[in-house]
């Protein structure tokens, strides 16, 4: 692969956690200016909600390059290891290091998709089984106005929903996995069930995870607090902005409707669509 410039190495900050073997690399890059002016930038004028995601992508890269997210994980031999090979940059001292440029691309797609789903008032369910972050994920979901499930996953929750949840229940339109594995280091049941129920999934896949069934996998570290907090914050911002955008557009339509039918001609043209 050759030597990459140092700014591509992921560095870790923050406390040591998780079982032994997850080492933190010292941050090699200069911290640089903390506050990103981009985050406060106004939403682009076009109605497409992809705008905020592009903005966010720039922030993310800068942040990650500043070393807020550790992307190291111990070498794992197993079925998943083969599937995660394309995402792995290399390994150093028995730690697999995830390729950040690929992560950026995948994260861009995932956030874009999330923003679209949130814009179209879809139900988003956050799933994660690491008990350390259970409280954080639930708080984040509540603040977004979306839903979370970081508890024991009952067998037929998605596949047998009418019986477990109620006769005419509406299933989630998107499931976001902050931890793809459950506490026994096996793939979470919801991954398979969502694929069965044709629910798109976004998931943060670590080097010991299987990204096969996930629609928008995002290679990244799911064990360390700073990285999980970063992902939580990103999803939260995306969803809140998409909803804001939706409210703005609805207000705009109401105004246009009040002005008269003449203004309606512009309506369909400005309608954002996934294909746009």
């Amino acid at each position: 692969m050759g030597l990459r410039p140092p700014h591509c190495w992921g560095g870790g900050r923050g406390g040591n956690d998780g079982p032994g073997g997850y080492m933190w690399l010292g941050s090699l890059g200069d911290p640089g200016p903390r506050g990103c002016g981009d985050e406060d930038s106004t939403v682009p004028g076009d109605g497409c909600p992809r705008g905020p995601s592009r903005v966010l992508a720039r922030i993310r890269e800068r942040r990650r390059l500043m070393g807020h997210v550790s992307l190291a994980h111990s070498c794992f031999c197993g079925v998943s290891a083969r599937f995660m090979e394309p995402y792995i940059f290399g390994s150093r001292l028995d730690q697999d290091i995830i390729d950040l440029e690929q992560t950026a691309v995948h994260l861009q797609l995932a956030l874009n998709f999330t923003a679209h789903v949130a814009y179209r008032k879809g139900i988003i369910l956050f799933v994660g089984r690491n008990r350390q972050f259970s409280h954080l994920i639930e708080t984040m979901a509540r603040d977004c106005g979306e839903y979370a499930h970081t508890r024991y996953f009952k067998g037929g929750l998605l596949t047998n929903a009418p019986l477990l949840l109620g006769p005419n229940v509406r299933l989630p339109d998107l499931i976001i996995f902050l931890h793809t594995l459950n506490n026994v280091f096996e793939p979470h049941v919801a991954v398979r069930d969502a694929a069965k129920m044709q629910i798109p999934t976004v998931g943060i896949v670590d080097t010991n995870c299987n990204p096969c069934l996930i629609t928008y996998p995002v290679p990244g570290n799911d064990d360390s607090p700073p990285s999980v907090r970063l992902f939580c914050r990103l999803f939260q911002t995306t969803i809140t902005r998409a909803k804001q955008k939706r409210r703005q557009m609805e207000a705009l339509y109401r105004l246009q409707g009040q002005e008269g039918p003449g203004a309606r001609g512009q309506g369909p043209a400005a309608l954002p669509s996934l294909a746009a």
Binding site: I123, E138, E146, K154, V169, R170, P172
Partner: protein, 395 residues
């Protein structure tokens, strides 16, 4: 699931499915309705019950099982109950405005006398809130989005409670860390609040959350609360007190009857005693010559058997006060021996007020102050008596 019975319709069957707790009470939907509609005479409740279930197609069998009571249905039931109550009051000739639940129960027992042994199987007429189990309203709005952020876990109230408690625990820990960092240590002053109270039991928690819990869930929750209290004893008092119930501590001390004085100035003390099915009340006078009157009859004539008279003698003999007290007692129920035992207990309890605490303790150790818990054991079917089996024949 039991086949729906013709008269009561499907609500009966799925009530049994929902839980045995109200299974008996359910049948009385018919009784209650009958009582209420007796005067009205308009279309019987029985028929109406059959129609509320709706058409069941093959697709909706699973939905029928969990059919819930709509808010309108419950409201209608409450209205009907109130109207029925007024009619019942009129029937009994009482004032409808001041007709309480006890009056209703008495009226129903009078109008529908039942020879059934099981109290819960008899006709009842109670407020619908007590009959229909509490159920949750629909959990999502018109657009299908659930109201609660933990809806998709299945146990939303329980998990949101855990989430809240854990949040409080984190806050308390943070505050403690801050205090410790500054060097100020809080003192535990309020340890007494938890004495005399116990944690909620699982059933009470289920009622509070209107949700079924497993034993592990309940244990986990109690453990979390205990953890919160270990960090800081008086943390989040109102929150913790929600899950505390007071326990009446029964004092093990012997209750000593206070002395009373009659017209002549003679001190006396009364108390009660029981044995098997005999109930006795004894009045022991301070100064006397050892006369005992039972139901107005002298004890020598009332208890011809020596053993019974010995029983009466025992408390006085124990305290060496044989000829020093006069006793008047009344006794009812039981046979001669149990009446004697009941009077003995009553006299011993009454004597406590004339005697030192040390002697009271001696009496207690001698067994004079303990109610004999033995009662007649019932005869079982397939046996000749309570324990005796039929003669075993080899062939």
């Amino acid at each position: 699931m039991a086949a729906p019975c013709v008269s009561c319709g499907a609500p009966l069957s799925y009530r049994l499915f929902l839980g045995g707790r109200v299974s008996f009470a359910r049948r009385h939907g018919v009784w209650k309705a009958a009582a209420a509609e007796l005067q009205i005479g308009a279309g019987s409740q029985i028929l109406r019950l059959r129609h509320t279930t709706g058409v069941t197609t093959k697709k909706n069998v699973a939905a029928l099982r969990r059919e819930t009571y709509t808010v309108d249905f419950i409201k209608k039931q409450i209205e009907e109950f109130n109207i029925g109550k007024r009619h019942l009051a009129n029937m009994m000739g009482e004032d409808p405005e001041t007709f309480t639940q006890e009056d209703i129960d008495r009226a129903i027992a009078y109008l529908f006398p039942s020879g059934l042994f099981e109290k819960q199987a008899r006709p009842i007429m109670k407020h619908p809130e007590q009959i229909f189990p509490k159920q949750r309203a629909v959990q999502w709005g018109e657009d299908g989005r659930p109201f609660h952020f933990l809806f998709y876990t299945g146990k939303q109230s329980y998990y949101s409670l855990m989430h809240e408690t854990y949040g409080k625990l984190l806050d308390v820990e943070k505050r403690q860390n801050q205090l410790q960092a500054k060097g100020l240590f809080s003192e535990n002053t309020k340890t007494k609040d938890l004495i005399g109270s116990r944690w909620l039991i699982k059933e009470e928690l289920e009622d509070m959350l209107v949700e079924k819990l497993s034993d592990q869930d309940y244990a986990q929750f109690i453990r979390l609360l205990e953890r919160l209290l270990t960090v800081q004893r008086d943390a989040e008092e109102e929150f913790v007190q929600q899950f505390r119930r007071s326990v009446t501590i029964q004092s093990k001390k012997q209750l000593i009857e206070p002395l009373q004085y009659d017209e002549q100035g003679m001190a006396f003390s009364t108390s009660e005693g029981k044995r098997k099915s005999a109930r006795a009340k004894a009045v022991v006078y301070e100064h006397g010559s050892g006369r005992i009157k039972v139901n107005g009859i002298d004890y020598l004539l009332y208890f011809p058997v020596m053993q019974d008279r010995e029983q009466l003698m025992f408390p006085f003999h124990f305290l060496d006060r044989l000829g020093k007290h006069d006793v008047t007692c009344t006794v009812a129920g039981g046979g001669p021996s149990s009446q004697a035992g009941a009077i003995r207990l009553a006299m011993a309890k009454a004597l406590c007020s004339f005697v030192t605490e040390e002697e009271v303790e001696w009496m207690r150790q001698a067994g004079l102050l303990t109610t004999d818990p033995r009662v007649r054991e019932r005869k079982k079917p397939g046996q000749e008596g309570a324990r005796r089996k039929f003669t075993w024949k080899k062939r």
